[in-house]
Symmetry: C2
Subunit: 399 residues, 2 copies
């Protein structure tokens, strides 16, 4: 990774008001509370915990999570895995399908890179072709050893079969089609069947608790049935991995899921605050903010310098943070570079020209991807100090 | 700017199929046709042409546009202006309000930086405080000369008064409030009143031509009236600057606008294809694409590796490019990393696993911001060759 620019590192030790706008800021005290609550939750429910690094895209935060008890991390892309391994993270699961032979060669190279460190790479599959191409890449990487390259002929990759448990995106159908893939994996010595990926992304954002319960009950049933069929073939069933921040309580209590992939709990998207709260869910609070400044004030509205180039709007617009009080301002989309602020019903109060405001992004993962670094503040957003600059190492890692 | 990574520069001279996915690709032949058509249009209508670099964020493309006849470029942010000036672009207009004193000091420093090169910086204002703070920053930069720093006490900044012509975002009301700001600018020797910014962003996307005509007629009237009032104060009226790709024909024909800021014509967003076409508009064609690959195929849908981390979706989802034929596939949002493809009505045909597809982004400006570089192909997307890698120099330039 290139070094962080001086304009950012010079902020360390400065008060919050020294942060230029717009900027991506972590409330570190809150983030650390979220982390402890997640670690405690996983321990209490006897489930493994492998947070999705697509949230923070940061080697430093991945290492922090592993130190807190996570067994490793998930990523979505080969290039994200490469960045995490280069940063010293040894246990990386690419929870997504990879099809291009050139990418699979890179995945296989990662398995060789982490093996001497005692690490392990895992990947998801949902097709026979995907398995065959992966096996070929693994075999070729093993043969590199015979050509004098540093490679181990015993290196294996863990392979999870992704089953579609209601998301309607990737994943083979539960039951017999998944069993067929497990049998296919068994044919290849460099592949180790590791279990099932059963992630229901859509259910994370179902507003009502009953709807989330029904969706995850279906996912649990699909995973349980498929697991039993695989065991009936004489295979070790492996882990069932999945779950996000919106539903993790349900998967943890299922007795079927052995590993939780939830990542967003660390920062908590504004979107999750719209969900009917599950009383069993740990208290996760917003820890990621956009600091913004008012640059124009008019009758009835003001304009700030944070538009959707500063924060993602795929899961709704950001919310104006009011430090626990009801917000007096609503944020409206003003384009790439502007946000429009209007008083909420019952209020007429507008911010002043030059005033600083804090926004809670609707969706943290793609928001983080818009920034080179996150500015970590301890002591609170109002009177705190910049403690550290956290690099978004995997920003723009698309391939 | 950091050097481009080898994985990109090694592509030069390679065929299109060597480009890993997802990737941002420019069809250079089409882009160059769009550029020539815009240059010819401006010449024919006797208007200046200052394209908005918020589209491409690239020094190389800014220089290409200036070589083709543009008088300079627009940017939205101080940091974008800094990157363009560092790259050798001397004529830069920050078409947005800047309020933070620290940022205004950087703007003033830019005026000093380009002055020896014969360049000129301009900025927009919409408040008395904005003018006063800008004047203070300019005075302080001029005084740097007295302290032995390389600075000229004669350096001025061009100041455009932004009037709100219907966008409802920044901008003072047309008429007397704008005149008051012009008189305010006149008080400060380091500020030179340059004219009016009268940009109607919303009108760019009005689907019907009558609606666009009505909106721009209102903008023209507001600019004309305000200009006359300023002239009545004995001031030079300066330029009226504005217009986007959706309406530029109307501003060019107005007799009031002297400068067009349109930028998107170079790449043409999919969103603009939804507008009822103005017969007087030059033929601009899509030149920016996301190359993507199918990673999962199911009954009724396929999944590709380009989600909204690869392209912005604020102005609608991307369109599957069909090389002039009607597209047989519709793109649905599959999250940050996935796109879901379904056959259009009347078709059942799905792409194959591993198949390459091309997407036309809904909105190019924030799409470009998601990428470090644009891969420039000549000879067409099907059989062409990578000619050059164009750095997105101002990617993530937020402040």
């Amino acid at each position: 990774m290139p070094p962080l620019p001086a304009r950012l590192t010079e902020l360390i030790g400065q008060p919050v008001h020294a942060i230029d706008t717009p900027a991506l800021v972590i409330d570190l005290d809150t983030m650390r509370r979220n982390l402890t609550r997640m670690a405690d939750f996983a321990k209490k429910h006897h489930v493994l915990w492998r947070p999705h690094a697509k949230l923070h895209k940061s080697v430093e935060l991945a290492a922090l999570q592993i130190k807190a008890g996570a067994v490793g991390i998930c990523v979505q892309k080969t290039s994200e895995a490469e960045i995490m391994v280069a940063g010293g993270i040894d246990n990386v699961y690419i929870s997504n399908e990879v099809i291009a032979p050139a990418k699979l060669a890179r995945v296989a190279a990662l398995t060789q890179a982490v093996a001497p460190r005692g690490g392990q790479i895992a990947i998801a599959v949902d097709s026979v072709q995907g398995i065959e191409r992966l096996a070929l890449a693994m075999t070729q990487a093993r043969h590199a050893a015979a050509q004098g390259k540093p490679a181990s002929p015993a290196t294996v990759i863990d392979v999870f079969i992704e089953i579609d448990v209601g998301q309607g995106r990737c994943g083979v159908a539960p039951g017999a089609p998944a069993v067929a893939l497990a049998l296919e994996i068994r044919k290849h010595p460099a592949l180790r069947f590791a279990g099932l990926q059963a992630y229901h992304g859509g259910a994370q954002h179902f507003r009502g608790l009953p709807e989330r319960r029904e969706a995850i009950a279906g996912a649990v049933q699909a995973a349980r049935t498929t697991r039993a069929l695989i065991e009936a073939e004489g295979m070790q069933a492996g882990l069932v991995t999945g779950a996000g921040t919106g539903t993790l309580v349900l998967e943890a209590a299922s007795g079927v899921y052995g590993e939780l992939q939830a990542g967003s709990f660390l920062f908590m998207d504004a979107d999750y605050a719209q969900n009917q709260r599950d009383p069993a869910q740990p208290k996760f609070e917003p820890a990621l903010f956009i600091k913004t400044q008012v640059i124009s004030v008019h009758a009835g509205h003001a304009v700030c310098d944070a538009g959707h180039k500063s924060h993602a709007i795929d899961s709704g617009l950001p919310v104006v943070h009011a430090f626990g009080a009801p917000s007096e301002l609503e944020y409206f989309n003003g384009g790439d570079e502007h946000g429009i602020l209007r008083p909420v019903a019952g209020s007429t109060r507008l911010p002043e020209l030059g005033q600083m405001l804090w926004l809670v992004p609707g969706h943290c993962d793609p928001t983080v991807n818009l920034h080179d670094a996150m500015i970590g503040v301890s002591g609170g957003l109002r009177h705190g100090t910049v403690e550290r600059i956290i690099s978004v190492d995997a920003r723009g890692a698309l391939t």
